[in-house]
């Protein structure tokens, strides 16, 4: 089982505050990995221009870095900023890390005439191209994300140590959203791609607990012939892909995510104002029903964040905070560490029917229940 911490705030903050929250939950992970996702970025030495894609990954060898450069140049990306981490190598277990890549590019000129969907498709295909190139060369190149305003760091080791090793406590990078996961290695080998959060076209999730319905879900997603539905080094990667599928492919509202993963039962649907639509949705998305226990924390390109539980709710998570600043963690002590000066009586642990949505304005939580009317009038 893993430990999760997420903070979202109107003002940028250092990711190190979230790593300190991870420290308070350290009984729950074993140092097999840390994953970080930062969104709403601010660099101390660079003024980031909204919309520029950011590449996150690792070039494990100089050759891999050369190939990365060649691929990006070939596509027409223009390097605008290359963030050099002040890495303390001695604090990192792995030896084959030639360069941690965090680079801001200007989008290729040739894409100017592309539609939004086409640009998003090209960004994803470029990331996958880098990943496959690495796989073809002995996994010497790892690409986590290529997307505007998103940075990802994944490394094997203890969260706080990795944060120190990367110098994340020096305030050179700040963000409005920070996801962190301390990994408990379970069935699947230690692989950087198996580390949460998972990312696809601006959609990101991280999860604790095991997903026992993983294989049928993976088989179904893999059969969709969508190039981004690949990888699956972790059983939790499907949560990100389901969120992507529901919001970007089916173009349903965020609330549908919960209805797809943990549909209501027949009796509940019979009493639901849109039971007919939702029953049909349950049937057609039946292979995406998850079987936790899981707490899923996600975020969307517009900086909306969400928290949902599986139907069994054996992995509770807590959300707490105040206007402008909210934290979600798999343990209450994690929330305490991130936002100590909140009103704790207003902390909320969602039940199986709830979706907690923190909208981009971060003023208040939306707690949406599956029993409520579904916000897609036409569909009903």
């Amino acid at each position: 089982m893993c430990r999760l911490a997420m903070k979202t705030a109107s003002e940028t903050f250092s990711p190190f505050t979230v790593l300190e929250a991870m420290e308070s939950m350290q009984e729950g992970y074993d140092g097999s990995g840390l994953g970080l996702l930062l969104r709403g970025l601010e660099f101390s030495d660079y003024k980031y221009q909204a919309g520029d894609p950011i590449l996150s990954g690792i070039a494990h060898t100089p050759e891999a870095l050369h190939r990365l450069n060649a691929i990006m140049d070939g596509k027409g990306f223009e390097l605008k900023y290359d963030h050099e981490f002040e890495v303390k190598r001695s604090m990192i277990e792995a030896q084959d890390r030639h360069k941690y890549v965090l680079r801001v590019y200007a989008q290729p000129k040739a894409w100017d005439s592309f539609s939004k969907d086409e640009v998003e498709g090209e960004l994803m295909m470029t990331r996958i191209g880098l990943r496959l190139d690495g796989a073809a060369h002995g996994d010497d190149l790892t690409a986590f994300s290529l997307w505007p305003d998103v940075a990802m760091i994944k490394e094997v080791g203890w969260p706080l140590e990795i944060g120190q090793a990367f110098g994340l406590n020096n305030d050179r990078i700040k963000s409005r959203i920070c996801f962190a996961q301390g990994r408990q290695n379970t069935n699947y080998g230690i692989n950087l791609y198996a580390c949460h959060p998972f990312f696809i076209q601006g959609v990101a999730t991280m999860t604790n607990g095991e997903n026992t319905a993983f294989v049928p879900i993976m088989d179904w997603l893999s059969g969709k012939s969508f190039p981004g539905y690949m990888g699956y080094q972790s059983d939790s990667e499907v949560f990100a892909h389901i969120l992507h599928y529901v919001t970007k492919q089916l173009k349903l509202p965020l609330q549908a995510y919960k209805h797809v993963m943990t549909p209501l039962n027949n009796k509940e649907l019979a009493a639901h104002p849109q039971g007919d639509f939702l029953l049909g949705l349950r049937n057609v998305c039946r292979r995406l029903i998850i079987d936790g226990p899981n707490a899923v924390i996600g975020s969307l390109p517009d900086e909306t964040c969400l928290l949902v539980m599986d139907a069994k709710k054996l992995r509770p998570a807590t959300v707490g905070g105040k206007p402008g600043e909210w934290a979600v963690a798999s343990e209450i002590c994690g929330v305490d560490a991130m936002i100590p000066d909140r009103d704790r009586s207003k902390d909320f642990q969602p039940m199986r029917e709830h979706t907690v949505i923190i909208p981009p304005d971060r003023q208040e939580l939306e707690i949406w229940s599956q029993f409520d009317q579904f916000p897609l009038v036409q569909a009903a």
Binding site: M1, Q184, T186, N187, G209, E210, T212, A213, F214, V215, P216, D219, W220, S222, G223, K224, S225, Y245, Q249, L250, K251, L252, T262, N265, N266, F277, G280, L281, N283, V284, C285, R286, R287, I289, I290, D291, G292, P293, D310, A311, K312, L314, Q378, A379
Partner: protein
């Protein structure tokens, strides 16, 4: 030495020791009540007078000699047609445990069973005793310390399945928004009572099953459905609210469909589904067969035929030119008959060509499912060679089809149902869940239900298996009222309900340790293991030892 001609031996002569089942009779216990001879369905028992010698020895005298005594004993008929079938009815009625059949490994009967020039026919099952491949598949992805197993007794479990064409989600949302037709889908219990016709089964058996099915649905909330087989069903059932629990089968003889079509305007509800039978696992390439023994007045009326004639259905649907056309036309016609509100799907024999049929169905927007019946399926009547050696085992057939659908991303759209040997050795839930985790959406079971709900005596050692000639000792497959009145429909219903309750418990006891409770684990092949490397490789599951 006696002369050769005086020994009563011809090529076809058999002694009791040559028969597959030998009657053991204990004269010291027998009270000569005659019940065994009266109940024997094949009249193999003969009460005869026999003579035995009693040696006479007087100790204080040199007198020697014998006295002879006459007694009434039992002899076993050695005619091929009246051999003991091992049903054990004699043992069941004997008040003193004085009689019963014993299996004989060394029978010579099989070489002589072709008297009259016809090959051996029987009902029942494939004669292949022992564990099946499905019995060897185990569930070994257990949720342990990383995530605790669930409590089968306390958690809520969702394990129903869907029968019907399921749209791709994108298409569903589009059609729902534009108000277009959504194909009918039934949510059912994944253990379906397989096709056994009103004709193959006695009225008491068939109605007992229906009674049990109705109880499961209406009282227990287990959405069990049963398939009719070819031959329709009683007119009152067609006009009853119970029709929604019934899958009506249309097969190549179209028996019973006059009644069904006539009843459509008066139906209170739609049937659960329509099954178009193109093949049957027990006798691939053969049509259905109801032998004349069983074509009673009632059956003749339902099927629209004269009494007492053999009713062989053709091997194919004669009116159709090709399978593609057949699938398209029949599925569409049947859908139209019920206003596109009833799922229609074909049933085929397990075959290496199953994938071709499946791919045909994928492109047919009205096809609701594919039912594949493997070689271990049962039948009311078939040739030995068909039962034993013709067909395809179900496990790899289902797996191949499922993986083929996965490649196309269509595994949720066309559910595959599997049959043929599910519960052959009593392990019905183990067998069914293995098939489900290999990719089936549910299973059909016939023989198991007959054994569990009605006490069918058949076995893979060719025990009984006389369903074809209407002399079923239990009254399950007979149309003779003197025989089928032995079977009380209430008892059948009671046992059926107990059977499904027990199945439910076992399903939970498998799903809980796998950490699954939210949906039926269709295609969860990572949970399966088998201690047979070749089988594991073939099925793409884990080899364990």
């Amino acid at each position: 030495m006696v002369s050769i001609r005086s020994i009563p031996s011809r090529p076809g002569s058999l002694s009791p020791n040559d028969l597959p089942w030998i009657i053991q009779h204990r004269e010291d216990r027998c009270t000569l009540c005659g019940k065994c001879a009266a109940v024997c369905p094949v009249n193999t028992l003969k009460l005869t007078y026999m003579r035995k010698r009693m040696p006479k020895i007087v100790l204080n005298s040199s007198e020697r000699g014998s006295s002879f005594k006459t007694f009434v004993g039992i002899r076993q008929n050695t005619d091929v047609g009246r051999r003991c079938i091992g049903c054990g009815s004699c043992a069941m009625v004997c008040p003193n445990e004085a009689i019963g059949p014993v299996f004989n490994e060394n029978d010579r009967y099989r070489f002589q069973a072709t008297a009259g020039g016809d090959a051996t026919k029987r009902g029942g099952r494939r004669n292949e005793p022992g564990g099946s491949l499905l019995d060897r598949i185990i569930f070994n992805r257990i949720s342990m310390l990383t995530d605790p197993a669930l409590d089968a007794g306390r958690h809520e479990f969702a394990y129903n399945t869907l029968l019907g064409r399921v749209l791709p989600p994108e298409e569903y949302v589009r059609r729902k928004l534009s108000g277009e037709w959504i194909p009918p889908v039934r949510e059912i219990f994944p253990f379906i009572i397989g096709s056994m016709s009103f004709g193959a089964l006695s009225p008491n058996m068939w109605l007992g099953l229906l009674q049990g099915v109705a109880y499961c649905n209406e009282v227990l909330g287990i959405p069990v459905v049963m398939a009719t087989g070819e031959g329709g069903c009683p007119p009152w059932v067609l006009r009853s609210p119970f029709l929604k629990y019934i899958i009506l089968q249309v097969a190549s003889g179209y028996f019973g469909w006059d009644e069904i079509i006539r009843a459509i305007p008066e139906m209170q509800c739609d049937p659960a589904a329509i099954e178009i039978k193109y093949g049957q696992g027990a006798k691939p390439g053969d049509g259905g067969l109801l032998m004349w023994f069983k074509v009673s007045k009632l059956i003749a009326r339902l099927r629209g035929v004269p009494e007492g004639v053999d009713l062989p259905s053709p091997p194919v649907h004669q009116t159709l030119y090709s399978i593609e056309e057949s699938v398209m036309k029949m599925i569409q016609s049947m859908s139209m008959a019920w206003n596109f509100k009833v799922p229609v799907y074909p049933k085929i024999s397990g075959s290496t060509s199953a994938k071709s049929v499946l791919n045909n169905l994928v492109r047919n927007p009205y096809a609701s499912a594919l039912m594949i019946d493997g070689i271990d399926g049962g039948t009311g009547a078939a040739y030995d060679i068909s039962l034993n050696a013709t067909g395809h085992p179900i496990a790899s057939n289902v797996r191949d089809c499922y993986l083929d659908l996965c490649k196309q991303g269509k595994q949720n759209e066309i559910p595959i149902f599997a049959a043929g040997g599910v519960g052959k050795n009593g392990n019905v839930v183990q067998n069914a869940l293995a098939l489900i985790m290999l990719g089936a959406s549910g299973v059909h079971m016939g023989k198991f239900i007959m054994q569990s709900a009605a006490g069918c005596l058949g076995s893979e050692k060719n025990r009984c298996n006389v369903c074809n000639v209407g002399i079923c000792p239990k009254g399950i497959t007979s149309q003779n009222p003197k025989i089928y009145r032995r079977l009380d429909p209430d008892d059948v219903a009671h046992r059926l309900v107990e059977t499904f309750q027990a199945i439910q418990v076992e399903v939970k006891k498998v799903m809980a340790p796998l950490g699954r409770s939210q949906s039926l684990p269709i295609g969860m092949s990572d949970a399966l293991g088998i201690a047979d490397k070749d089988a594991a490789d073939r099925l793409n599951i884990r080899y364990v030892c």
